[in-house]
């Protein structure tokens, strides 16, 4: 009785002959994937891309719990591996982008933060993510490599949470992706890390076995990796593998 009603409501608004492509992407891909979605839909009429953006670890939990996902783009290899271990990937994941890290601070860098050692200053509010979230692990790796011990004020849900706390002025600094500092525009400023300590985050993408239209899913993955997709990624500050 309820089921037809719910399906009727849920399908409301979608065109009759469209294929819906559910793409789960790491939060740090928010900017470029919104543009890639538009460009892909333009080139593929009849395909409606629906983006689900969260931390890679969150997305992995959803996928393993059976969320209907067609394409998964992770911010690290480790989380993609978890999906692979659960035998949910169709084919082999492909690394399509890279990213590096920067310290994010308030515009004008009022506290004069110049490097990792400054993050250990007493009274400075540093926020990060749990080490299960890619950015949390990368940040910890960089701090460990620099021999700096920092006490975080908070472990945010995902990298955008770190950005939000710094741009809102609640936190003084955090380690985020280069692309996040760029996306924050004039609401934040970035401080470079020493090149020998910086990590190169690799972003893999894969088609899921559960994909309803694996042809469309494959076309999307190819599009992300095409010259057009790469151009968008570069515009948002990503590197190419």
């Amino acid at each position: 009785m309820l089921v037809p009603l719910l399906t009727a409501l849920a399908s409301c608004g979608s065109e009759s002959a469209t294929t819906t492509l559910d793409v789960s992407a790491a939060a740090s891909l928010t900017g470029p994937f919104a543009e890639i979605e538009k460009a892909f839909e333009l080139a593929n009429p009849g395909v409606d891309v629906v983006l689900n953006l969260a931390s890679s670890s969150d997305l992995v939990t959803q996928i393993i719990e059976g969320a209907p996902v067609d394409v998964f783009a992770s911010a690290d290899i480790k989380n993609m591996d978890k999906v692979a271990e659960a035998d949910l990937i169709d084919g082999v994941p492909r690394v399509f982008a890279t990213n590096s890290l920067r310290i994010i601070v308030a515009p004008g860098n009022p506290l004069g933060i110049t490097g990792l050692a400054d993050l250990a200053r007493p009274g400075l509010v540093y926020v990060t993510c749990d080490p299960n979230v890619p950015i949390g692990r990368y940040a910890q790796e960089v701090l460990d490599a620099a021999g700096v011990e920092v006490t975080p004020a908070s472990f945010e849900e995902n990298v955008k949470g770190i950005v939000a706390k710094v741009t809102a002025g609640e936190a003084d600094a955090g380690i985020v992706y280069t692309t996040d500092v760029l996306a924050a525009g004039d609401r934040a400023e970035g401080v470079d890390l020493p090149a020998d300590l910086n990590v190169s985050a690799r972003y893999p993408i894969a088609v899921m076995k559960s994909a309803e239209s694996s042809a469309a899913a494959r076309r999307f993955v190819d599009f992300v990796d095409s010259s057009e997709g790469v151009a968008i990624l570069i515009r948002f500050g990503f590197g190419t593998p």
């Binding site: 969150d58 939990t61 509010v125 749990d130 849900e157 002025g169 609640e170």
Partner: protein, 271 residues
């Protein structure tokens, strides 16, 4: 309370739909009970991080419901007894946080009590008080979302109260505050208790406003709901066990609430 209607008078359609409703509520909990790794229960609940989250949750939600009572009872009385222009606007403001997505509440809190908030910047400059990322911040977030439950419960009771006892006390020479404390308050005790418990339960379950305003740090701002949510990312089994603990606590409280308290507490908002 009216007598329970006899079974043969229950319309079948109503019973069937009620059964669907019960199944809808019960199935998710059954899901957790079935999937939960019961063997891990002792290990998880004695885990230091879990005990810290549980203790923090119990402490903060208790303080939050206490503050909700101290501030909410006078507010409820004003809303119930004083005629003043804009009363419905005040009531709407006082209960807004109940219907808002808690995340919006969290955003509202840091624009007001955050480090750069309209009040928060002075708290920081003058007193060095910083609510974000502090346990006090958790309590503020919980009080913000929980107080409306108490206000509505107690206001409704104040309205239904027979004022003759208060008038009698006044006639006998009791001062207004004495009447309030010794006559009015005791008469609404069931509603007050129910309101406090509902506010406490809401505070205990608070997630959105807490993580937005107070952040997430074990031992300081990581309450049980935050610990559960974040465990879901890395150790789903652990999240299930944490959920069990929360369900157990909340269920015990609801069972403990007498039915009449709940029914008096259900607010009848009149404008």
């Amino acid at each position: 309370m009216s007598r329970r209607p006899k079974r043969r008078h229950t319309p079948i359609v109503v019973a069937v739909w009620a059964g669907v409703a019960i199944a809808f509520f019960a199935l998710p909990f059954i899901g957790i009970l079935v999937r939960a790794p019961w063997g891990d229960l002792p290990d998880v609940v004695t885990d230091r991080a879990v005990r810290r989250a549980l203790w923090l949750s119990l402490r903060t939600s208790f303080v939050a419901s206490l503050i909700a009572g101290i501030l909410g009872v006078p507010l409820a009385w004003v809303l119930a007894r004083l005629e003043f222009p804009g009363r419905s606007v005040v009531r709407a403001i006082a209960t807004l946080s109940m219907v808002l997505p808690p995340v919006v509440g969290g955003v509202a809190l840091f624009t007001s009590f955050g480090r750069r908030g309209i009040v928060g910047q002075y708290l920081d400059d003058w007193f060095g008080i910083r609510l974000p990322f502090s346990t006090a911040g958790v309590i503020v977030a919980q009080t913000f979302v929980a107080m409306p439950f108490l206000v509505l419960a107690v206001e409704s009771a104040f309205r239904q109260l027979d004022t003759r006892y208060e008038e009698a006390a006044s006639t006998l020479g009791a001062r207004p505050f004495f009447v309030f404390r010794r006559v009015t308050l005791p008469s609404v005790r069931p509603a007050l208790v129910a309101g406090l418990v509902l506010a406490w339960a809401r505070a205990l379950g608070e997630f959105g406003a807490t993580i937005t305003f107070a952040g997430n740090l074990p031992g300081r701002t990581q309450t049980m709901p935050l610990a559960t949510y974040l465990a879901l990312e890395s150790e789903p089994e652990r999240a299930l066990v944490l959920s069990l603990v929360m369900i157990g606590i909340s269920f015990a409280v609801l069972l403990g609430l007498r039915e009449r308290w709940l029914t008096t507490a259900l607010p009848e908002v009149r404008t």
